[in-house]
């Protein structure tokens, strides 16, 4: 599934050479650099920063995993800003020069962020669908009814948390918009591969999608006519494949959890007509940590 999202080779190359140049200067002439940016003599720190710059630069120029190296530059920029800030407490620093240097770093950081986001999107569009996600849930309704609710694709954003909208273009194709946990907006077109009323829907994304995936949802009559067993199976593309997907789970919700939660909301909608929530309810004064976990309360 080759995709056609534009990569940023020119920007990547420019940032790569800039990185190498700056790194070499920092390694070879740390004192001059220190005076220039107003932090005074911090040769060891500056040489270490230089080595980091060279590594990021060579990585970017190699053209391999540009998203990773572009992101490493963003991390480096944040580190540099922190070091510049810390240097201000030293009597040897020159605040005016430090401020000028910080402004320059912030400008470059913006470029780095833009490049890394574009590279990540490009990598996602190229990734092969080899990361599996499966989930299942019993719903107290008939397979026909659950199928009908799902088949009306406009219903999906009502229970899929990251979906913004689904628009059916014709019987087979539909246009989807989602917002990822990181705030990135993804668009794709999906086409239905198989459609058996009351039993199964399977789909795959079209070639020009920003994220590749294919999957199916099955509606099986429960044993003893006890509701419907809904089984979802999705394979999605992740830059770096299954290993990267596992690593990503350390920092964000596992895809299985997301899909299971989506199914739970589907179950609530079908069985009760609404989704159980406490968003908008009152509470007393929260602690700092508490506020992070209770967004949405009044």
């Amino acid at each position: 599934m080759a995709a056609t999202v534009a990569r940023q080779p020119t920007l990547d190359r420019t940032l790569g050479w800039f990185s190498v140049g700056l790194g070499v200067a920092e390694v070879l002439a740390p004192r001059t650099m220190g005076r220039m940016i107003g932090v005074g003599d911090h040769s060891v720190v500056l040489r270490m920063c230089g080595a980091r710059e060279i590594a990021s630069g060579i990585g970017l120029l190699s053209g391999r995993a540009p998203a990773t190296f572009a992101m490493s530059r963003v991390v480096g920029d944040v580190m540099d800003l922190a070091l510049l800030g810390a240097s201000l407490s030293s009597p040897r620093s020159n605040p005016t020069r430090v401020a000028a240097a910080a402004t320059a770093v912030a400008g470059v950081a913006a470029l780095d962020l833009y490049a890394s986001k574009a590279d990540l999107q490009a990598a996602m569009a190229e990734a092969v669908e080899d990361v599996p996600v499966t989930a299942s849930l019993m719903i107290n309704s008939s397979p026909e009814e659950v199928y009908a609710f799902w088949r009306k694709l406009e219903n999906l954003p009502r229970f899929m948390s990251y979906l913004e909208s689904v628009r059916e273009l014709d019987q087979q194709t539909s246009e989807w918009t989602a917002r990822t946990p990181g705030g990135m907006r993804l668009r794709w077109q999906s086409e239905i591969v198989e459609d058996k009323p009351g039993e199964l829907i399977s789909w795959r994304t079209r070639d020009d999608s920003e994220i590749n995936h294919c999957g199916s949802v099955r509606f099986e009559r429960g044993p003893g006519h006890r509701g419907t067993l809904v089984r979802v199976e999705v394979y999605y593309g992740m830059p770096g494949g299954a290993t990267a997907a596992k690593a990503a789970q350390l920092f964000s919700t596992a895809p299985e959890t997301i899909v299971t939660q989506d199914l739970r909301r589907l179950k609530q909608l079908i069985e009760t007509g609404e989704i159980a929530t406490t968003k908008g309810q009152p509470s007393g004064r929260r602690s700092l940590v508490g506020r992070m976990f209770s967004r949405g309360e009044s």
Partner: protein, 394 residues
């Protein structure tokens, strides 16, 4: 509005918070008239229930007046006087259809958290940790009641606020504990803990035909109330519980045993010290002394019924006795909805007046002190009812 908020271990406070509003179509807003502090609130107060957050509004025993209903609630009208069950239940899922309301699959928005702890999630519960939904509770001037078309029942004029209040939790909880004992004519039932749930379990066991009910506690005022509802009593500070039960039952043991104490049991001896140390070190979350005794003394083929609250893992449970004596263990959060109407009928017919357990009546500003008093059993405290309508700010 003013609300009772959990602020940390042994810290509750009255805070000004925004009024609740309708969120879902099947919600109603209730203006609370009477709320109660439950023995299980003390487990929150003592910090033994995980996932409480500073600012959580407490309270799952309350009754009041309907002030607003969502478009999905057609059985209630503004002005209705209602009592609200503590479990939040949808009425549509597999479990609700079988009247196992406390196992509702659709009311806990944090079900995934509970599943990590227990494998599966029970229903959401008002004011009882984020593991059970994080719903704002009823120790407040107003409360949002989800699935209001399923839970609250109207209180007839002949029944007072205080008589109806306990239909939301402890009366059905004591009743279900007794019902779980599968009481046969001539049975002897032993009840550990003569607090509110234990007292209702005793009264219910009598109503269900037990020949003999034995209440076990150490506080004279609670033992007095137990005798008032028909129990013989054991003060375990003066008599050995197991020896006495063995003697009184001719060695056979009680036909059914009810643990109305739960995770913070007070016992004697080395075993109690061992449990306290392990609980303090978080090597176990419970102090299961009562459960051990109940299993040990229950007669062969008998039933151990556990309405007492447990939350995590316990140690040294005599499973050998469970197997070799062919015991049945029954438990669960109460399926309150199932019992409200039949028990309301018993109140109307004058069979029981649940308000007999009330020892203290306070206003909302006195609630923090009341928690401490109830916890320490000071001033012969058995049950605290909070009058929410005095000095209303609005």
């Amino acid at each position: 509005m003013r609300a009772v908020c959990w602020q940390g271990i042994h810290k509750v406070g009255i805070e000004d918070v925004p009024d609740p509003h309708l969120i879902n179509p099947r919600d109603a807003i209730i203006k609370v008239r009477k709320a109660a502090i439950c023995g299980s609130d003390l487990h929150l107060y003592d910090g033994y229930v995980p996932t409480m957050m500073q600012g959580d509004i407490l309270g799952h025993e309350f009754m009041g007046e309907v002030v607003e209903t969502g478009p999905g609630v057609s059985n209630l009208s503004v002005g209705d006087r209602v009592v609200v069950p503590f479990p939040i239940s949808c009425g549509n899922c597999f479990f609700c259809e079988q009247e196992m309301y406390s196992l509702c699959e659709n009311s806990n928005p944090n079900a995934h958290l509970a599943e990590r702890f227990w494998g599966h999630s029970p229903c959401g519960i008002f004011g009882y940790s984020h593991l059970l939904g994080g719903y704002a509770g009823g120790q407040a001037e107003y409360v949002r009641v989800p699935f209001a078309d399923v839970g609250p029942i109207r209180i007839p004029d002949s029944v007072s606020d205080e008589q109806a209040l306990f239909l939301g939790d402890i009366f059905p909880t004591g009743y279900m504990a007794a019902e779980n004992c599968n009481i046969q004519e001539g049975d002897t039932v032993a009840v550990w803990g003569c607090g509110p749930v234990g007292l209702f379990a005793i009264a219910s066991a009598k109503m269900l035909g037990a020949a003999r009910v034995i209440g076990i506690d150490r506080f004279p005022e609670r033992l007095n109330l137990a005798r008032r509802v028909g129990a013989e009593t054991i003060n375990y500070e003066e008599m050995d519980t197991l020896d006495t039960l063995r003697e009184w039952t001719g060695g056979r043991g009680p036909d059914a045993c009810i643990d109305a104490v739960g995770m913070e049991a007070h016992m004697h001896g080395i075993q109690h010290s061992y449990d306290k140390v392990k609980q303090a070190l978080r090597l176990q979350t419970e102090r299961p002394g009562v459960l051990r005794e109940a299993i040990q003394i229950c007669r062969n083929g008998g039933t151990v019924s556990v309405p007492g609250v447990y939350g995590g893992v316990a140690d040294k449970i005599p499973l050998g006795a469970v197997v070799n004596k062919a015991l049945t263990i029954k438990s669960g959060q109460t399926h309150v909805h199932r019992y409200m109407k039949p028990l309301l009928a018993r109140i109307e017919q004058g069979e029981i007046d649940p308000s007999f357990i009330i020892s203290h009546r306070v206003d909302i500003e006195d609630v923090p002190d009341a928690y401490a008093m109830f916890r320490n059993k000071d001033d012969e405290c058995v049950k605290v009812v909070v009058n929410m309508t005095s000095n209303m700010a609005s």
